[in-house]
Amino acid sequence: MKLVVAHLYPDYLNIYADRGNIAVLERRTAWRGIDFDYRTIGLGDAVEPGEHDLYYVGGGQDREQALIAPDLAAKGEALREAVAAGAAFLAVCGGYQLLGRFYRDRSGAELPGIGLLPHHTIAGERRMIGDVLLECELDRGSPRPLAGFENHAGRTYLDEGAEPLGRVVSGFGNNGKDGLEGSRVDGAVGTYLHGPLLPRNPWLADWLISRALARRLGEPPELEALPDELESAAQEVSAERAYARGGRF
């Protein structure tokens, strides 16, 4: 069995240690005897729906995001099709914003997103920086904590009735007001949390791997449990930080 992961614009969008997320996907796949097939998709490369099981896009500086935005827009339809056909997707920070419908900067100019997730973002004055703790319930009946770090000036607003990644326990979240963080449609998840996200929240890595493999297997497989004591301890420290100092200007 294998997992094909496509990393979008790794040369441009890599500001918050995004390769840490990739390393976690790679090791946790390999430790279970599943082949990890890592590919990169850059400017001008075509996206063939059906070719990849899991997409990843990270965050960048404004300059880098503006450099790739038109190219991403051209890939929008193929990516939406891929997710509709069962591919998983993790988008962090700047990548999360670009997966929404648009991003409006301080001058009022709009950078179009690809509308894969039902939200839009408006640049705010003060950056929302700090440790965050969320409670997520991606599978009904099994709530899970998610701990990370956020650093964003954009305020993201979900469409009416859209599903967040989680509820903010401590921290700012999407916009510092509605208590929601991230966005989720099917196997696609967007979030402001970096840190990076997956090393200290391996359950989300496993959820994404499982959703991605479901595309090949028909339904999400039960993944073999791994020794995650270190990961749990790191999550606990991160959660403590969120309680002690998250969500304050």
């Binding site: 240690a17 390393a23 404004d62 300059r63 450099l67 700090g130 090393p199």
Partner: protein, 472 residues
């Protein structure tokens, strides 16, 4: 408009002088109190009080310096570079110098207070504070070393800092010197059009990296956005670059390092090339990043009037700034402290260690205080991998030791080789016990972990506290 009489102006000046002297007295006393109370070096408290009492006082104090001031800013190497300049200038010039690394406005103010008979101000300045300090001090020279991603939670994006630097440089006095590392495309761009500019860089492809490191920052053309072609990449995105599309390229170097020799963990040497001649410079410091620091120091010293002889001798005498590369003797073992604080700096430390033969045991201490960066994600952008193969034991220490352990676990290190020790005291004891007699324990601390480890070493009688060293 009424013109004040001569006497009136004189009286006003005297009053202002008295007020300033009073403020200075108050602020100095606070520094002594802080040291007596055992609350660190008291290196910023006098300045904080002064700045609080009179926000214009820093500029007034700086204007008393007969030779003016020079500012040094960079993400990496500020403390080392300014200490090198101080060594080069030697006893010839009385310096007001924030040598303990307190580099915000308050630290600069404290250094001005501590040296009231100085001739020249020599200040390292935090990247974020540089525009404000430059506006207050009105320096006669600035030295800009590099801009790397660093503590995004504190400084924000690189581009924002660069933009603020651009405005600050444009606002310098027209006669002020801009000494700039043009191997950094961002800085070359900032200095574009400055007439009084000295441009320095490395010119030795034999020490270049095979490729840009993962966390390279400013690698897209400042003019047109295309990825640069690098004839040589030296440290992070610093190198000899050219845009294949619009042909924007590294400017011609006024000061260059050529024929570089890197000798393991101990030393390095290079040819310092300036229009007036060439000198072989020997450094008791390892690594290409210290060649950059020496180049920056030599270039700034040149515009401050130092001779090639003084530069060669000063750099030759130079010993590392505290904690940057510091060897401490602990009985029949030694401890080597190498400060790490961001991906670019840590990558160079890793490269230098690997070049010298990667160690079997290493202690890394990761804290997440404000001075370290509360966001620890940067450790995932460090290329630690060259250390992992030969590593028999990682002592993962500090407030975020688990996060560090995860970085190595997912980098491929067997978790059985990781010892978790959040407490630095215990981590150091364990690390030393596990180090065979006669051998060296390599320690990579973040900033506050470095201060804490030095305090522990001082308590064990191994080093002097940094503020004593700073004023010695």
């Amino acid at each position: 408009m009424e013109v004040p009489s001569f006497e009136g102006r004189e009286a006003a000046r005297t009053l202002a002088g008295v007020r300033l002297r009073l403020e200075i007295g108050l602020a100095r006393a606070a520094g002594r109190l802080s040291r007596l109370a055992g609350r660190g070096g008291g290196t910023t408290i006098p300045g904080k009080i002064l700045a609080g009492v009179d926000p214009g006082a820093v500029g007034k104090l700086a204007r008393r310096l007969p030779l003016g001031s020079a500012l040094i800013s960079a993400t990496n190497g500020k403390t080392t570079t300014s200490a090198m300049v101080a060594e080069i200038l030697g006893d010839r010039v009385g310096l007001a110098h924030n040598r303990a690394g307190a580099n915000l406005v308050s630290g600069v103010a404290s250094a001005l207070l501590a040296a009231d008979r100085a001739d020249l101000g020599l200040f390292e300045v935090d990247e974020g504070a540089f525009p404000d300090v430059a506006a207050r001090i009105r320096p006669q020279a600035v030295c800009l070393g590099n801009l790397f991603r660093d503590q995004l939670d504190r400084y924000g994006e690189l581009e924002h800092i660069a933009e603020r630097w651009r405005v600050a440089v444009a606002d310098l006095d027209p006669a002020a010197w801009t000494v700039v590392n043009v191997d950094d495309p961002l800085l070359a761009d900032i200095a574009r059009g400055r007439t009084e500019a000295l441009r320095f860089g490395i010119d030795d492809p034999s020490v270049a990296r095979e490729r840009l490191p993962h966390a390279a920052d400013s690698k897209y053309c400042r003019t047109c956005g295309a990825p640069y072609d690098y004839a040589a990449a030296y440290v992070g995105h610093l190198g000899d670059y050219r845009c294949p599309r619009c042909h924007d390229a590294r400017p011609t170097l006024d000061v260059a390092a050529r024929s570089i020799t890197l000798s393991g963990l101990e030393s390095s040497s290079f040819d310092l090339v300036i229009p007036e001649g060439t000198r072989r410079v020997s450094l008791a410091l390892p690594g290409l990043y210290n060649v950059y620091n020496a180049l920056a120091a030599a270039s700034l010293a040149l515009v401050l009037g130092a001779s090639l002889d003084e530069i060669e001798a000063g750099l030759g005498r130079f010993k590392a700034a505290f904690g940057r590369f510091e060897r401490i003797t602990a009985g029949d073992r030694t401890v080597l402290l190498l400060l790490v604080k961001n991906p670019a700096g840590a990558n160079e430390v890793v490269r230098t260690l690997a070049h010298a033969g990667a160690p079997a045991r290493i202690l890394i201490a990761l804290n997440d205080e404000i001075a370290d960066g509360r966001d620890v994600s940067w450790i995932w952008d460090v290329d630690f991998e060259p250390l992992i193969g030969p590593l028999k034991e990682l002592v993962a220490a500090g407030a975020r030791s688990e996060e560090l352990a995860l970085r190595f676990k997912y980098g491929g290190l067997d978790p059985a080789r990781i010892t978790l020790a959040r407490d630095l005291e215990g981590a150091l004891t364990h690390g030393l016990e596990a180090t065979p007699p006669g051998e060296e324990l390599i320690v990579l601390p973040t900033y506050t972990a470095m201060l804490a480890l030095r305090r522990i070493a001082a308590e064990r009688g191994l080093v002097r506290p940094y503020w004593e060293e700073a004023v010695a």
